[in-house]
């Protein structure tokens, strides 16, 4: 399943669906974000059909980052019904993302 590149144009629409959405906030200059990216990709693949995974480039979409008070990256936020229900800050093992989804 494709990872969605989220922008302020498609954000609300993508989060408006039935499935939960995991949003990964990142930037190109952020080393740990690069480390986290394959972990997020694997999580997306393993949980296809259960969750939509999207990425927000905080340099390109500062409004989205600001809207959810993202001050440190990488930050992963899980949304259910369009509302943030859980946040992870920093590089995390895949298991932590799965725990976020399960709870």
């Amino acid at each position: 399943m494709e990872i969605v590149t989220l922008t302020k144009e498609n954000f609300d629409q993508t989060l408006g669906g039935q499935q939960p959405v995991l949003v990964d906030f990142w930037a190109s200059w952020c080393g740990p974000c690069r480390m986290f990216s394959p972990i997020v990709d694997e999580f997306a693949e393993d949980n296809e059909g259960k969750v939509i995974v999207g990425k927000v480039n905080v340099d390109e979409e500062p409004e989205l980052a600001g809207r959810f008070h993202v001050m440190s990256i990488p930050t992963a936020i899980l949304f259910r019904g369009g509302q943030p229900v859980g946040t992870l800050v920093g590089v995390q093992p895949k298991e932590k993302l799965e725990e976020l989804l399960e709870n």
Partner: protein, 304 residues
Amino acid sequence: MTLFDVAVIGGGPGGYTAALYAARAGLSVLVLEKLSPGGQLATTDVIDNYPGFPEGVGGFELAMNMKGQAERFGVQSKSAEVLSCSLTGEVKELSTKKETFRARTVVLAMGAYPRELGLPGERELRGKGVSYCATCDGMFYRGKTVAVVGGGDTAAADALYLSRLCEKVYLIHRRDTLRASRSYLPLLEQAGNVEFLWNTQVEELLCEGALSGVRLKNSLSNETRELSCAGVFVAVGSVPATELVRGQVELDPAGYVPADETTRTSLPGVFAIGDLRKKPLRQVVTAVADGAVAVHFIEEYLNG
């Protein structure tokens, strides 16, 4: 349940090189990595001393290339932490949260993690001014004053990296010369905003909510002084990540595995490579060498 020929714990340069060589020798290989391929390599901005890269290479990029190369020859990788293991029998078992893997041989490639200063409040201030990874956290100190503690390659590289982001960098070392490779010194001097504090140790971390500075002591004059800084980057060496195998594999008093150049440990079919092995030089290039050599002895063990 699959019985792998080789299970590698740790997806750093050592682990993936052992995996590569094992796969090319026709063995079935599994690499178990808990976080990111590369380990310490992944958080290294630029590597200038790994041969073959005249312009240097990004640590994470190199790590991902090593992984890709190993996978090209059939190595399987799993993102999971090995929480417990049983290494003494003929069939070795490695258990993650979700499953147990079985293998005929195991390569210990868990590497090392940064040593703490051991000061009161240090753990509480992690992420609030105390950091062990300049490339990870440097951005948060853009335009601010920071201190790097240490005198080796990591401390020098960290100070150089931070000098490009921060207003000012103090490099605090307990000796009067760096242990680091000599090539760092001119670069640090040319940076213009790096000040060396020799014969100096950090006595106390000062904080008001978050870190506000450090109390320093000069070991020659016994004078103490307070230094204001927003961040302290600790680079005072590393600790081998061998707790997982303590009690099964023989460890030396510092926690390293006393395996020689053959990488053979006290347990048959278990091999130790990279930073966690007792050795004179811990670098990417020596970890990679260990990985290749381990496979020679893995084959000997499997055929024996």
